[in-house]
């Protein structure tokens, strides 16, 4: 079965299937109605609900799937709407590494002592920027949910590799565990690239469907419906199925699990104005993180929380490109030519083994930092202003410049499909000519051949002398001198969303006045307050949200 067919697993036309399954008590009719300023009675009266469930989950990823299963386990009927044509979100492309300890079964098998209290103590450490900015109320919940979440995953079919990784991030003991990759290559978006997260989301999907969760693919949430714009309880959502609006009533609650905001330039710049349009988002083009959930919640009063987490200058909020010469070069993600995403990705990229083989230049053709560094000082240098009066924020594209010898050392084949010559990879017989060939939507001004040539000549003199007088690159090893020459897109990529909607310990969204928005939840990267990289917090708070939403009285 192709991924595109997954919407019709019930074997019936989707609309008929949805109605017969869940909306017996719903008002007939289709179409959305405006609600601005409506009262509770008016809102319900004016909205013609197409579908109804106890709990509506927005997003079928690592936050949404456990939320849906947990709500179902607690007796609620559940609809998930997913904007993509398949489930999984970014979890589908992740390495499947779960930071879940607390004394789980694997830790016990390896005689590693851990506890919820130890998880909490580690994740409120003041001496780690992974933990110091987090909301400790939420960390406490997370700590207590570690073992239950691990057990939940196992009970729902998720398989783990019996190895421990770590300590990582703020943890003081090994707490990272890897799920087993999904076994059907055609149902893995990046096959043959060790995307073990596919095993997590596919197995949760299977469990959710088996338990009766209805998953509506290609349904993009556009609005959360509240009794009044900034008051009352949340009633449901509007999603667009193509051009058709579908109103879905939530008797108990709506859980936002839409993922993060890294793909939304305007939104992400609230936290860091340097993050202008040239910075790509990890897991594109499979998933676009558009801040849809955050924006919809903020439209009805939702607040952000713990925004310092986003700009803590640590972890994987910003990452160095590892696969260069292609648009989407996130460190651990390669779309091979048999990936369903390859048509959009257009190139696999050249995987860098040693950053000594290239130099980095900014869009004016100048070196700006030591290339072997991958710290936040490097990212700050990438995003520095370099004199362009028309672009004061952001640093513009970053290009890796190398020569034939560098390509040979790295064993690179500099032809498509390894590179994308349509704006992300260029070659030329001379350095000066190379500069003139660089054309990219984010390259706002032509690169001067004279400047790039001067940059390379200067760097080569550092190699000859054995010391980088400009940026202290340790032992500059290789001159860039042998034709042909290459320029490969190496602009940093944004990964972690580390801030989002304010919630209480039940994952209920809180408004800008500190009041709970009744019936609205957030889990996953759209939830603020806990600056932990990876999947675990999404799973844990997805379960918390699903459990609490199911317990509400209608």
């Amino acid at each position: 079965m192709s991924t595109q067919d997954r919407n019709n697993k019930n074997g019936a036309p989707p609309a008929l299937s949805r109605r017969s399954f869940l909306s017996k008590g719903a008002a007939a009719g289709v179409g959305a109605a405006a609600l601005t300023g409506a009262t509770a009675a008016n809102a319900q009266a004016q909205t013609r609900w197409d579908l109804t469930a106890d709990v509506v989950v927005i997003g079928a990823g690592v936050g949404g799937l456990p939320a849906a299963i947990t709500a179902r386990d607690n007796g609620a009927s559940v609809i998930i709407v997913e904007a993509n044509h398949d489930i999984g979100g970014r979890g589908m492309l992740s390495g499947g590494r779960l930071h879940l300890g607390g004394g789980n079964a694997i830790q016990q098998r390896h005689n590693l002592k851990d506890s919820a209290d130890q998880v909490y103590a580690d994740w409120v450490r003041f001496d780690s920027n992974s933990s110091r900015y987090s909301d400790r109320d939420l960390v406490r919940v997370f700590a207590d949910e570690n073992v239950p979440t691990y057990n939940f995953l196992v009970e729902n079919g998720v398989e783990f590799i019996d190895k421990m990784i770590g300590p990582e991030q703020a943890s003081t003991i090994p707490r990272t565990f890897v799920t087993v990759e999904w076994h059907v290559p055609s149902e893995i978006v990046a096959p043959r690239r060790n995307r073990n997260g596919s095993g997590l989301v596919r197995r949760l999907e299977a469990s959710a469907r088996k338990k009766g969760v209805q998953i509506l693919l290609r349904h993009k949430m556009t609005r959360i419906i509240r009794e009044q714009q900034n008051a009352g309880r949340v009633l449901g959502i509007t999603a667009m199925a193509g051009t058709n609006p579908v109103n879905i009533k939530a008797n108990k609650g709506v859980i936002i699990a839409t993922g993060g905001h890294t793909g939304n330039v305007n939104f992400r710049r609230m936290f860091d104005p340097r993050l202008t349009e040239e910075y790509q988002q990890a897991c594109e083009p499979w998933v676009h993180q558009g801040a849809d959930g955050e924006l919809a919640a903020m439209d009805i009063g939702g607040s952000l929380w713990a925004t310092a987490c986003q700009t803590r200058d640590g972890g994987a909020a910003i990452t160095k490109t590892r696969h260069i010469g292609c648009r989407w070069g996130y460190s651990s993600l390669v779309y091979e030519t048999d990936s369903p995403m390859f048509q959009l990705a257009r190139a696999t990229g050249l995987t860098v083994e040693d950053w000594q083989d290239v130099i980095f230049v900014n869009q004016v053709g100048k070196r700006f930092w030591n290339e072997v560094d991958g710290s936040y000082n490097f990212f700050a240098a990438c995003m520095a202003w370099h004199g362009d009066k028309s672009k004061l924020n952001g640093g513009g594209p970053i290009w890796a410049i190398f020569d034939a010898d560098g390509a040979a050392r790295e064993k690179w084949n500099t032809k498509p499909p390894n590179v994308d010559p349509d704006g992300f990879f260029f070659s030329a017989d001379t350095i000066s000519e190379l500069a003139g060939k660089i054309k990219n939507p984010h390259q706002k001004q032509p690169m001067s051949g004279a400047v790039l040539q001067e940059t390379v000549e200067r760097y080569n003199s550092f190699v000859v002398a054995g010391a980088d007088a400009d940026f202290k690159k340790p032992k500059p090893l290789h001159k860039i001198e042998k034709p042909p020459f290459y320029a490969a897109w190496t602009t940093p990529i944004l990964h972690d969303t580390l801030t989002g909607l304010r919630t209480n310990t039940n994952s209920e969204v809180v408004d800008t006045r500190g009041e709970v928005i009744q019936g609205l939840y957030a889990a996953g990267e759209c939830q603020g307050g806990f600056a932990q990289h990876g999947l675990a917090r999404c799973l844990a708070f997805g379960r918390v949200a699903g459990r609490h939403a199911a317990s509400r009285t209608t």
């Binding site: 087993v180 060790n194 020569d403 000549e457 080569n460 000859v464 054995g466 001198e481 042998k482 034709p483």
Partner: protein, 311 residues
Amino acid sequence: MTTESHSTAIALSEPAPAEITAGSEVAVKVTVTCSAGCDLGGLPLTVQGPGDDKSECTLATSDPGNSESAEIALTAPRQVGPQTWHITFEPHEADGVRHDGCSLAVTINTIPHGTSLAVWDIPSPVLKGQPFTIKVGAKSAANSDLRGLGIAVHDANGAVAARGRLRDTPLPGTAALYWDEVELIAPAEEGLSRWSVRFAADSLALPHDGTAAEFSAMVSRPPEHRLTVKVIEQKSKEPIADVQVRLGPFRGTTDPAGIAEVMMPKGTYDLHVWKSAYEAPGRPIEIEGDLSVEVEALFVPEEDPDNAWTM
């Protein structure tokens, strides 16, 4: 029968580029308008180029009732400087209507094509007073045939240190990089020395600007002694292959036994080793004779994000 007379006007739809390279082609779009709104579609325009060349094209109806337009390809002469094309709508009379003629002068500056250089296979260090060779390639932005043209290498004082003549065929793997190998004599002074390569690019059919590039090499005394460096992993004590060994301009790479041999003159150097995922501090080395040293490098694995995780 009375003949009605209408005036016409001609203008560029978009500004023409201020400059183009000699011999290249540029498209300009002109519109011709009748004061009475007549359709001038199908009527001719004549184009008188900077030389004697003359051509004709036909107006197409682009904005019915307002104007007609034509896209005209202008070929620049192979001379540098301001060039003027005259685009003329000739007077035309038909069906009792006479359209007056109008003309437009388009002036574009033609400039030489660019050239650029690559200099590679430069040994470093070079031995003072001894010959060494480099390779120099020249490229025309117009991909012109550069075979037989001269290149000159100048020393830091501007004096010609060597000359070369570009070979008949471009360097394999390049589009049109014509190249030659040039022999130089290293200066008598030790230290970093710089040269420049200059390419005049004259006597080509298309005008080209010349260009220059710089390169450098470390000038050294002849090596007298053999330094043998063995690199091992700090904890396992296993030899590490493919480690880059650097002592200023002197360099080597370890073999599978973790050994690199570097020939060097007497002196004091900083010994550095480099390999991805290994860390080793630099250390001073005094070379007074043949010497063997062992360097311990700590393996600091950075997990490969592409690593496979299986049961």
